[in-house]
Symmetry: C2
Amino acid sequence: MDKEIIPEVVVARLPVYAQKLNQFLQEGRAIVSSNELAEQLGITASQIRKDLSYFGGFGKQGSGYDVITLLENLREILNLTHPWKVVLVGVGHLGSALLSYQGFARKGFEIALALDNNPELIGKVISGVEVRPVEQLEEWVKAEGVRLAIITVPASEAQSVADRLTEVGIRAILNYAPVTLKCPDGVHVSDIDPVLILQKMTFYLE
Amino acid sequence: MDKEIIPEVVVARLPVYAQKLNQFLQEGRAIVSSNELAEQLGITASQIRKDLSYFGGFGKQGSGYDVITLLENLREILNLTHPWKVVLVGVGHLGSALLSYQGFARKGFEIALALDNNPELIGKVISGVEVRPVEQLEEWVKAEGVRLAIITVPASEAQSVADRLTEVGIRAILNYAPVTLKCPDGVHVSDIDPVLILQKMTFYLE
DNA sequence: TAGATTGTTAATCGATTAACAATC
DNA sequence: TAGATTGTTAATCGATTAACAATC
């Protein structure tokens, strides 16, 4: 299972498969074929089988995939068998909303640390997490053993926050600030900018 | 400029170029080369020039691209020369945060309509927008002439909201609910699910 | 067994990159 | 003019799809 040779597009689809399998599981489905999965997700069955084949054979000819087994395997492949601590930097409107979102914890992502510069926020407890000063980023990230970060600070501050996070050992950053972050190789950065997405879509509208 | 033959990955990069050009503009830069842009964005200069060549030649051999001119051209290509009205469905934590976010309006996306089912929210004005019942989705979308939608309802309701939006003529949907939406061909759907992105990144962490 | 579906290979398709003539 | 950078072509690289033998 050499991670170097697995295309990133493939890795990105695995959580989508897991999400749909979870849904099937909740609906009480025990078995699912690549065709059914594909139809539900709007992709080809070939692609699903090819994607999974990078990691092994999880299905059974003639019937399909056992929902629970495949889900378990995907969770192991994605390192989701233990919870992950996350640091949230920036507790504005969006940061607060993410802090209140139960979907992270439900999926094993615990926001263990929230940082902001606003004196009125520091010390406040939001969704069970006390807001601490950004100044103390380094010590708290180390103290909590956090591995993942979510950036929800203004665009102008995002790069310097990213730099500090990288410096202190964070290797995966989910960036909500509307800038393209530059991070060293080996640091995984994903940007979520709704404006960029809307701007892509308006291309297709006349 | 036949939109059928332009790869979607290319279209998706244009807003990123525009974003960086905006930044250059604010910094007072008049001219930029594909090399400088590329280095800033972490991609190749070849790719930028190839992408732009789908739409014409905007640069000048020997010097590069005029920042203002290229930005103007990109804005026209992406249909960003006039503002777009957006409907927001679901005014929970995340919906409220998006409603308060000034970045949409600043980029020409006006949230003209906000819908929710919560009786305590209906009639309330948030960031200048009155919350109306989801029940009245069809009439208000028509009345306001909205073309784009943002979905921030719970996962269980997202598909039916998407169906109703599609039915009433919406052709571009930004979906924050953690489900894969199924929409007819011709409807552009982009999903933003932070959990899926974190799950992709944990693959690379041991 | 007969029918169905996987896992995998090979073919196709599409996107990225390198290279360079054109030209400012 | 000399130097630099574009726009574009051709080559490379990589991802998707089709097809089918294997097999449950």
